[in-house]
Symmetry: C2
Subunit: 201 residues, 2 copies
Amino acid sequence: MSKASGRLEFWYEFSSTYSYIAAMRIERLAEAAGVTIDWRPFLLGPIFQAQGWNTSPFNLYPAKGRYMVREMERLAAEHGVPFRMPAVFPQNSLQAARLALAGAEAGWIVPFTKAVYLAEFRDGADISDRTVLEGVLRGLKLDPAPVFARIATADIKERLKEQTDLAQESGIFGAPSFIVGDELFWGNDRLEQALELAKGR
Amino acid sequence: MSKASGRLEFWYEFSSTYSYIAAMRIERLAEAAGVTIDWRPFLLGPIFQAQGWNTSPFNLYPAKGRYMVREMERLAAEHGVPFRMPAVFPQNSLQAARLALAGAEAGWIVPFTKAVYLAEFRDGADISDRTVLEGVLRGLKLDPAPVFARIATADIKERLKEQTDLAQESGIFGAPSFIVGDELFWGNDRLEQALELAKGR
């Protein structure tokens, strides 16, 4: 087993298709590189709003949106990851992100993150629907009630806000993003390059 | 010498930093892949305007702009390509694009394209300045006067307009873009993937 020599922050947004692809492949690549991943869910919505966008750029700019869908098909085939566009896009990811922060406290953020992404982009489910998120939690052998009680606290709400503020202060403008030391990398396709840098740290 | 088995359209904009990196490395990669490159200068301005943008997204969205400059430094180092941001960005690329189309007729589009990019992103020159473009032409042992007379014709002006319309109809929304058959690839970092597809054709 390789010993982690470096750290990489993986900043992801639950409504982001490219974040999904990155989430499904980052563990294997990080293990091979001996790099520890710090999973950092955040919300792109407030960052997009600060740029004057009220929805995803893939909706605002249709040519870009069509391209993204085609590229997702290619990436899914390349990486052996199932993919379909959900009926609603982008999805409201607020509850999922708060749950992920509860999972970070309790040690289940990684399997939770992947299960939410699969519900959304493999099964086409609506991750703003509480019953969908309850199903994800149950799939991880977790009792949904106390977890939802936890994310209703001001503490978790504030922590997600801080995490999103920190993303913005770090220069993040899209997802996924990777941070190694002071270096920012944007996009699923930069994951290998970011890991290469993290390796040397 | 490898025999070309496929074709790839290389759509580039003279004011685009990522197009510059692609232009500097595409010949070597295409030669190795045995792929013929069809050099297609076009204007992003009208496409951006149709999206409601009056300048580069790197100016409209400062975090994205700062990231681009840092990534250019990394890419330049990785590919051994000189780079500096010109004082004016983005530059007005209309005359350069028209000259490139004259060069496509006359067989010097490739060296002209690279020389314009080097003037802009290695030397920091202003490529909307006619004397800069005249210098580029002279560097290629071309007499500037008849070339500028050629691009003043309605024919060349119309051809650039058609090329830009065709880019938009092909779903292009940024530069560089690569087209292989019906498949569109956006971004310098997709060049290898596009060549891989072109190879099989």
